[in-house]
Structure formats: structure tokens, C-alpha cells
Symmetry: D2
Subunit: 102 residues, 4 copies
């Protein structure tokens, strides 16, 4: 099952700097071979449901193995059957409306 | 891997009433045998990562098979290695602090 | 503007126990006089948009004043104009479908 | 109070195409004068809490006035007092770690 998703992790480990863990999570998502986009509030990813969920599990296991005692992940997942849509298609669709309405 | 999670689905199918699809999703989560709690903004669930993710996949497939063209799911997932914690433990911990501070 | 909302805060302050801050946030929401429901993944609340957002701001300010260096809040907000709906109505509607389908 | 936020709206109005409403919401956020970034799962925004929340309210009111019967918005809000941080700083911090670890 093809999905579009957004993954945002919050490691709770006793420090306010989270960049190392977020980079680790982003790398694990990237290693899936899926198309990924890092933004200021997470990583967007487009690919197979099982592949992405397997990466999420690896993220939790890897971060715990590296000392993160507690990990909170928020995800958005979407699938549709009326048409194919990529992450880029979504942005393009909104930008097209924005351009028209100028 | 044991996790606590919250699952909130939003079917996008051409009607404003979503109760039938939300009930279907809740039933699928319940059929996992995991402990589930329905609330006004989703279903909280506690159990094995793979079991829960397999249920999420079934929710998307079942709702699409029943006419939902587009489905948006938001999830919160948490795991911790410092101690065991159930959904009820989380509420109890906060209620204990609230009681103390009265 | 009447809304239904869910508020989930994650204090990032150098400890894995978050109960004290979550209790503080829940109390601030409760002090609004709005109907609130604490669950394992946040507090659901029903009331006026401005009142709720003012409470969210107070939560951030109060927790920062009490030593939380960094605070992440996730919210769901919904409003509808086709009919009045309470938090309880949403749960009742889903439970009614679940009961029928037995 | 300065915050970083992510806003993702889901109009529930009887159609699967949401681009027009998402463009409308993005425009309202942009009109605040705050720095905004559109991505595939929402709009990231950086600015004053009150200004951003006022825009969220306007989004709900405007979309309802334009025929969206029901509207679900999910938001992430973060504030910190240990240092100043922009949306771009967050991405830069993660990219710096990713570069180092190559």
C-alpha cells in the first residue's frame, strides 16, 4: 500500500538539543530508498506502508540503543484510491491555486 | 516492541458524518486484542508495534474497500526503556499530581 | 467561535518524567471553565477558540517560568457549522454505530 | 510570545480535492507577514503566538463562510527560552549533523 507520510520525532532524554536524534531518524528514513523531504517540523516521506513502518520501528530501536530513554513520534499518514499523488503533486496543486488567484 | 499510541482517522469521502468509518477503525483496533480506549479525538491503544501497524494498514484497506476515496490518519507513538508504562499509568500519574496539589 | 480541541504537551527539560508539567497544563485548561477530559494522550476540551488559545499561551508561559526550557504542544482543533456537537456527542455517535453493528 | 508552528488543515466538505481550501489557509497565514513555508503536509510558520492564532481563527471563519461545513486543523506549536531559533535554524542544525556523519 502506497502512502504519503510525515514523521516528527521528539526524543525525551535529558537535553534540549534534539538535532543528533532527528538526524539519525532522518537517515533511517532516507535509507529506505523512499523519496524523503526534511522540513522544520519533520520529514515527509512517500512510499510503501510496510517499508515506512519498518523504518519507524528501526528509529525507535536505534534511538533507544543510543541512550534515548523515551521517544515520542507523531505521524500523519494518507492514502487515496481516486488517483496517484506524490508529495510534490500536493505542493504543486496548492501553488497552482495560489498563482491563479493572484 | 511495546508502544502506546493514539490513532485518529479522518475519512475524506464526500460527507461530513464520519462516525461509521471511525467505528469501523475502532473495531479493527479492538480486534487486535490490544487494550483500546475510545475518546473524542481518537482511539488510544497499547500493544505491540507490529500488531498495531498491521491494524492501521487494515483500516486503510478496509475503508478504501468501503468507498472512502481518501484517508488521513494521524498517530502518536511512544516507547520508553526506563520503565514499563500503560495508558492507565499515564493518566494515574497526572491525576496523582493533581490530587497532591489541591 | 466554538471549537472542540485536543491538547498534548511535551516539555523538553532534561528529565523523562513529564507528569508535573502535564498536570500543570491540565489545570490551566480546567481553570478556563470549559469542559475538559484528560486521557492518556492529552486533554480534550470544548469551548471558545479565544479562551482555549489564551490558556495554551498561559501553559507555555507558566511552564517556561517553572523551568521548562523547551515546550512542544500538539493540538487538534475542529469546528463545524452544520450542527452543534460536543465532545461527548462524538463518542456517543461512534458507540451507537458500534452497538448497531453487533 | 514567539513560536514556531506547523498548521495542517483538513476541510470536510464533500469532495476529495482540498487544494482550494489549503491555498486559502496558506494565503491567510502569509498575510500575517510572518515567515511561512509551504510543504506537502502543511505550512510551517514562525512568529508571534497571538498573530498566528488570530490567523487560525480567520482560516476557520473564512473556510466556513466559503462552504466548508466541518474543518479539522492539526497544529504543532513550540517555544523555547534557552535560545532563539528560527524554522531555518532547525533544518540547518539537522543538516549539519547529517553532513558531519558522512
Amino acid at each position: 500500500m502506497k502512502i504519503l507520510a510525515e514523521v516528527c520525532i521528539i526524543p525525551i532524554h535529558g537535553a534540549t538539543s534534539l538535532r543528533r536524534e532527528i538526524a539519525m531518524a532522518h537517515s533511517i528514513l532516507k535509507e529506505t530508498g523512499c523519496h524523503v523531504e526534511l522540513h522544520s517540523y519533520g520529514t515527509n516521506i512517500e512510499g510503501d506502508f510496510d517499508v515506512i513502518m519498518s523504518a519507524i520501528k528501526t528509529i525507535h530501536q536505534t534511538l533507544h540503543a543510543n541512550g534515548t530513554m523515551r521517544l515520542h513520534t507523531s505521524m500523519k499518514i494518507s492514502s487515496r484510491i481516486d488517483k496517484e499523488q506524490t508529495l510534490q503533486d500536493k505542493v504543486d496543486a496548492v501553488n497552482a491555486v495560489l498563482k491563479e488567484s493572484k
